[in-house]
């Protein structure tokens, strides 16, 4: 053992050096957030709870095409589709819509699959509940989430290249031809 090594062994030099570093950190700005009081600002891309969206005029976007159900890797979406008369048009619609949030893995595949951008992911992540059944979001609940966090869901769609910002968004709207009954010839 050299003198130098002996000296550093006796003097605890490396411990002193390390302590100097940790003491220096007392003056560094803290990085932790006091969670319930302070919250992170999440980026627009954040994949949170799902919601169903409406167009500006309040018409439901979802056409009940079932693509989200097929694309979901955890099989947690259930769509029942039907037809409905609306302003003299017969349009397809999801009469029932369930997403089991206890099974959802927040992969965003359903949003990617939806051809009319009816689903959007919000920044909602605090919906824990003692009642597990309420975590199966049904259609009213999904539209409620979609309405309440409409801005976030839209921002998500824009951030993930699903939709353009507002002025061009109308291009992405699917317009039903004016059928009155399913086997009618379209009125052009």
């Amino acid at each position: 053992m050299t003198i130098r090594a002996l000296f550093s062994a006796i003097s605890f030099a490396e411990i002193a050096k390390a302590l100097k570093l940790t003491f220096r950190h007392m003056r560094v700005k803290e990085v932790t957030l006091q969670y319930p009081r302070e919250k992170l600002t999440l980026p627009d891309t954040h994949r949170g709870a799902l919601g169903l969206l409406c167009y500006e005029d309040g018409v439901e976007r979802c056409v009940g095409c079932d693509l989200c159900e097929a694309a979901c890797p955890s099989h947690c979406i259930k769509v029942v589709s039907g037809e409905r008369q609306e302003n003299g048009m017969l349009r397809r619609i999801a009469t029932e819509f369930y997403i089991d949030m206890t099974k959802c893995v927040f992969c965003g595949f359903c949003v990617e699959a939806c051809p009319v951008n009816a689903l959007g992911m919000t920044k909602l992540y605090e919906y824990s509940t003692p009642n597990k059944r309420s975590l199966i979001f049904d259609k009213p609940k999904l539209y409620e989430v979609g309405e309440k966090y409409h801005g976030e869901a839209k921002a998500y769609l824009v951030a993930h290249n699903q939709e353009k910002a507002d002025e061009q968004a109308s291009r992405y709207r699917y317009r039903f031809p004016s059928f009155t009954k399913s086997n009618d010839v379209p009125v052009l």
């Binding site: 490396e14 390390a18 891309t45 693509l67 965003g108 051809p115 992911m121 290249n161 291009r171």
Partner: protein, 410 residues
Amino acid sequence: MGEPVIDHYADDVEVTPEKSPRRVEDMLLNMGPQHPATHGVLRIVLDLEGEIIVKATPHLGYLHRGVEKLAEDATYTQIIPLTDRLDYICAMTNNYAFVRAVEKLLQITIPQRAEYIRTIVSEMQRLSGHLFWLGTQALDIGAMTVFFYTFREREVLLDLFELLCGARLTVSYFRVGGVDRDMTDEVIDRLYKFLETFPEKIDEYNTLLETNRIWVARTKGVAFISGKDAINFGLTGPVLRASGVHYDVRKAQPYGVYDKVEWEVPLGKNGDTYDRYWIRIEEMRQSAKIIKQCLDQIPKGAIAADLPMITYPPRERVMTDMESLIHHFMIATRGFEVPEGEVYSSIEAPKGELGFYIVSQGGNKPHRCRIRPPSFINMGAFDHMARGYMIADIVTIFGTYDIVMGECDR
């Protein structure tokens, strides 16, 4: 003082169980499955002679979720979220390994920009994986401060992942044929900023550990394995390289853009935990170097191959073009058809060589999807590496692999 203790190690004392005033026998000690240092759920049965480990038998399978079987019933795209959950702290590299295997089977090439993005994110993932290892290994050994410091940097990287794809851990970022979302300028700027200060941060960890007598005493010479044994046990990753064997998939069979950037494979000499610590520190420096070069070189362009039957068509086209809409429907409902064949493809994950062996019999789902997880194979050498050490070293010994049970048990 009571009865004299018989030293049954001393040669001149004959100990037979009947004559001994005390019962002398090997002790079986169960460690886990719920133990704070097992990084998951792992049970180890330790055969002890006093404090010395005579035999260590790992019992795996507590975190088995049947990923390989689940994969047989999911389309290729739907398997991507499953792979996230193998090694859940390094999801990007898992995605990469799987997607690359499928691409090899489909024989498609992906755009350059996507290759760069893939390389960047998998190196970011390596950084965060190694930071995680360093923090938790130091914490297991008893140094708490390092844990806070490494997690501070890891947080920055995870935030970048969130900005990039929306999730921090279970990213599901890769797609067959490209990636999900383009790397925006904001991500690139923040990554540059992170890389500027990162080398100093590595020095900080070193200041805390490198010469610290407790860290050195508890890692030097612990969990030794020679290069020859390491090869025979099939070890890969930092564990192998610490024993001085030059094998890194990134160099041996370059993928992504690893052949277009300059970097070195750090090698150890002693094959002990201290060397593994150095290897991981050096790999972090190299990863930072790779990311920096990639960011400088990254070209503009598409982020996914334009293959109408495999990748989703761009959104504008889906809305305006009937054919694209049909393709969109086909990909969403049925996935894509993969030709018949078998393929093995591997990448260098932070823990070692992560490979996917996919057997396809045509159709949109794999017939068999076998995963070669580095943690599992590395675990094979556990008994060999643990024998002869003290019981207090056991935490160091399985921490040294950077083991994650999610990947080990699949």
